[in-house]
Amino acid sequence: MAEQKPEFLRFTGHRHFAQRLVLSTLSGRPVHISKIRSTSATHPGLAPHEISLLRLIEAVTNGSAIDVSYSGTTVVYQPGLITGTVAGAGASVGDIVEHSLPANCNRGVTYFLMPLALLAPFSKAHVNVRFSGPGVITAATHVTGDVSVDTFRTAVLPLYALFGIPPTRIELRVLARSCAGPGGRGGGGVVELRFASQVRLPKTLHVNRRPGRIRRIRGVAYCTGVSASHNNRMIHAARAVLNALVSDIHVAAQYDPSPLVATDKNAPGKKRKLGIGFGLSLVAESSAQGVLYAADEVAPPEGGVVPEDVGARCAYQLLELISQGGCVTSTASSTVLTLMAMGSEDVGRLRLGRNVVGRDETIALARDLKTFGASSWGVRDIDDDDTGDVIVSVKGTGVGNVGRKVA
């Protein structure tokens, strides 16, 4: 570093935690986040999933310094180099970093996959991480609103192709599936992300034309530990809603027995079934390249919902997201906008629906990016049709991969 004492960027609050850590790591600027749930009487400080995310980032970087205060309400993070999976440093079994999630984690595994996938293109070596342990939820989560791994694989990873990162070099293996356990906590899934595509600079993105027309709908219905007929019931209900609009609907059915997880460390033989549930992930593909709309719905961990309702809700959610318009949905917009900001020094354009831009997450991302030294977004209306979409132009910072190799 050029300066002796780097200047900390200061943030408050627990919102956008993952996003700020990613931006900090990519831009190489240390952050100081305070007042993390400091007003909460029951759970002050960092939540289990946030601690876990810090550990994950520590595992794929070299030279990161993380300092959590005694109460957990303040974090100081000094980013290191993104090394990826290097044998001998972090990688325990073969060429893969094993990351275990704790049993009290209530976020889906995509909460960790999204930031990891943002760091991976800029890594020095390949990024291979296997998530295991009693906290891996591969399904969507009802309470915390994480998407399922199926949506991540079919609707977020393909978007990396637009940036010159071939999806064939990215592999997401779901070795064991699991829904959220009782109280929305814990699972028992195993997921492996192999990101073998490292780029110097993401390409400048121009997705500012019409979003095309929806040609087909694909999806995955999954159920773990419940009757396999739930899949068909969900698919049937979703089709009933969508058949009026598209005829080309294919939904795969995935049935797995629920994973057995050891409950007690002292009695390894004692195991119980965890992560029983079912859900549906639907992806609508448009005729324009790279335009995907994804919807996700899952049964709540306490049950009490019939599969027909889950299927129909997922279909309704998909219709609502399509009607919001734009080329990227709210699920993927933060990923796309971040990659655009990290791209080469050129202006990329992205067409977004009005209600996708008008979310406080998007506004917060814009502000955070500016704090981290990226230039402001340009925002303008689309004049040539009446959809009310907005074009956001993002200038890349050109940090690419080289900037971060200087530690």
Partner: protein, 105 residues
């Protein structure tokens, strides 16, 4: 004419760019302003807050604290089901699908 000019047109991109980087507004307030949702109401709220005691403010912050980062937006599914079970809504959306009748356009 006065009616037209009195109230600013909501959802203008120019306004958004201005509100987005105005750090004196929270993200939520910026959006409310952009949508043109009753600004008078917000101002009223501020006055109330000043009158009120310490406790209410804690409650408000707690509200913000309870919200977590979500990837799936929250929906009111009953409202959605009502909206998308009407034929008009489906027909209005049809232009976004390849089954749309292109001749009529």
């Amino acid at each position: 004419a006065k009616m037209l000019h009195g109230k600013r047109q909501p959802y203008r991109a120019v306004d958004l760019a201005r509100f987005m980087y105005d750090n004196s507004l929270s993200a939520k307030e910026a959006l409310q302003k952009w949508r043109g949702e009753d600004e008078e109401e917000i101002e009223e709220d501020i006055e109330k807050e000043e009158d009120d005691t310490f406790f209410r403010r804690v409650g408000k912050e707690g509200d913000d604290d309870a919200s977590e980062d979500r990837y799936i937006p929250k929906f009111d599914y009953e409202a959605l089901a009502r909206k998308w079970s009407t034929k008009d809504a489906i027909e209005a959306l049809r232009t976004k699908f390849s089954t749309a009748n292109l001749v009529d356009e």
